[in-house]
Symmetry: C2
């Protein structure tokens, strides 16, 4: 084989794994071909309105149906007797939920409701909560450290971004009924984690970006038990953007429909591979290759995940998260993992501090295109070699 | 002819002209056929990112090019040396501008910046400004009544929604440099109003909904002179929704491209009609028919608009706004125009109070489908008859 070398010359391209851009799935959808091609005529989807009788009046019926089918196939969420609210990605839905849970109170002098999430938490929550300095809600950081009385909102991200762990709410509050919980289940799909049950929360949301990889379409959806909450979320999206792209709604409906057809034997095709098996195999393969390199390293470590029985796969499986939560070992090289990766080896990740965690961690996307992922592994291996043996081979 | 009758039986369907849903244009796009059909393959447009080197990193290049072509064709805005920022409809852009103009200050105890617009103003501005109780900005109502010192933002909607008038800024302030102005030019297109010059403001925005009628796609765009403002607007949209549907961006690019091709003689087609002429003719025809009925009325009146030389049409033209700003004449029937239309005749409009104006006004969409517009005229005529002659014929 070729000799790995320590990488430090400026001629090496930067490997950007900062965003969770899910381009890994492009090759799958390229192979599926025609049947997932979206065709929209010039005079279609022109109205703001889909169905004024529904709480979410801009939700296209095809999308609602496909969402429910997809959850039936994946077995990851209860959809019966739930209202579906579509959003411009789950980012808009997160804010719609905050609005829905804090508006309509009678007290004019209401203080902003604290919003918390157990650290390490998704790096964008703080800015998304606080950027408009809302009088309705306010970021209050790590849920483990939260001990105030009164109303609060806890965000539970499960599997968690950045570290891939399965989570439950953690706030202990003597007036527990004052707390509202929202569940960000963006990564609760069979390719990333064992599906141990159909999630059955009052407010939970998912996104097209992470389920099938279509981030450019900006489609997310919430499943909501209470009609008033669904209506207030809809009102938020009306005031933010008068609804959600209908072109993307129908494209999402089509792509989800193709996945479901694969499992339900419609248009059966010998050459077709089912999406979740394909994606699971791919993530398993990537994680194995990454773990092999990290295991030989004196510098890095990765979280370990328990095996659990997955109802979807019908066997015990492990988690293969969308991000690697890489830790620089104590005493090794540098205590700032992001800086170490960036300055020494031109790998761009997102440092632990952004997630309310220690800078010895960095988050790296596992969803890049194949060639980028291979470059990432090669470069990481060269770091190991360069470190362990002082760059002598 | 058939005898018109006063309408009051519950068997008559409600005519909803509350929203400005631009379905009037569906028949045009239906006739254009294949060349405006959008085709998107399953593996296309999957990434969040379009071009990280641009201030608006999620803007698709095809859309930017089509937007610039369309403004060249319409002659309604200067595009050279402007940054294009795409939004989820102009609704998201309005809020992005407010954020961009009020964030990044150094004062931690900054008071919310007042936002004003001359009455009658678009009914949604107040709620869009205040629904999150932002500490950055706050709705302050009618610009004519605004006399505070200090920073402020004035929204200039021209042509105006609801009343179709051409507008300039109106706030008189001894510290004039503290005021920032944003121009909502959603209706500054040749079908609605004479194009008297290419608009050349620092911050102006337009929308796909009102220019071509594709409201369901939720695409708006701002033309911005200052790079820092463009970057802050982009940051707002990143935090709100991590960008804008790429499916809709490319669809908008395609539809705009078809319009421009029509004017630039590409793919010339004897049967093709150019969009702006078609739409102008259609609006002129609707306004003539409406004005005839209103002129015979003792109950209603409509604004008059001056003839101006339109650079696009190369002749003097009148305004044919997207909304009729109908006034119940003093002493006639009722002083609440919305209530009168709704209760007596099942025509749903939006009352003057919602626009900071007198309840003797109501706003009615002129952009409904043909059959709905015809029903509206028929019903309005029956009111005239019913009123003038006590329903005797």
């Amino acid at each position: 084989g070729t000799k790995p070398q320590a990488v430090s010359s400026s001629s090496e391209a930067v490997i950007n794994l900062d965003h969770g851009d899910p381009t890994v799935y492009e090759s799958f959808w390229g192979k599926v071909g025609e049947k997932c091609t979206m065709v929209i005529k010039g005079n279609e989807l022109m109205s703001y309105i889909s169905d004024l009788r529904k709480p979410c009046w801009f939700l296209e019926e095809e999308l609602e149906n496909s969402i429910k089918r997809l959850h039936h196939v994946a077995g990851n969420a209860v959809v019966d007797d739930r209202y579906v609210v579509v959003g411009t990605g789950s980012t808009q839905l997160y804010q719609a939920v905050l609005y829905a849970l804090t508006t309509g109170g009678t007290a004019p002098e209401q203080q902003p409701v604290p919003v918390v999430c157990a650290a390490p938490y998704y790096s964008q929550y703080e800015d998304e909560t606080d950027f408009l300095r809302s009088g309705l809600y306010k970021w209050a950081g790590d849920a483990y450290a939260f001990d105030k009385e009164g109303p609060y909102i806890e965000v539970v991200t499960s599997p968690n971004n950045p570290d891939g762990t399965t989570r439950e709410a953690v706030v202990i509050n003597s007036l527990a009924d004052q707390g509202k919980i929202l569940y960000d289940l963006a990564y609760y799909w069979p390719q990333y984690t064992p599906i141990t049950r159909a999630a059955d929360y009052d407010i939970m949301y998912f996104t097209f970006s992470k389920s099938t990889g279509h981030a450019g379409s900006r489609i997310g959806w919430a499943l909501v038990k209470d009609e008033e909450i669904a209506k207030k979320m809809t009102r938020f999206i009306e005031l933010s953007s008068i609804g959600v792209s209908k072109d993307s709604q129908l494209r999402a409906a089509k792509i989800m429909g193709v996945i479901c057809d694969g499992y339900q034997d419609f248009e059966s095709d010998e050459n077709s591979e089912n999406f979740f098996e394909y994606a699971h195999q791919l993530m398993e393969d990537r994680w194995k290759r990454l773990r092999e390199i990290v295991a030989r390293s004196n510098v890095f470590s990765l979280p370990k995940y328990p095996q659990e029985y997955c109802l979807f796969h019908g066997e015990f499986t492990e988690s293969y998260p969308a991000f690697a939560w890489l830790k620089c070992k104590e005493g090794a090289i540098d205590e700032d993992c992001e800086k170490f990766l960036r300055e020494s080896y031109k790998i761009v990740g997102r440092g632990g501090r952004r997630f309310g965690a220690d800078p010895s961690y960095a988050r790296l996307s596992m969803l890049s295109r194949d060639e980028v992922f291979q470059q990432f592994l090669d470069r990481l291996q060269s770091i190991n070699n360069g470190t362990v043996s002082n760059g002598n081979y």
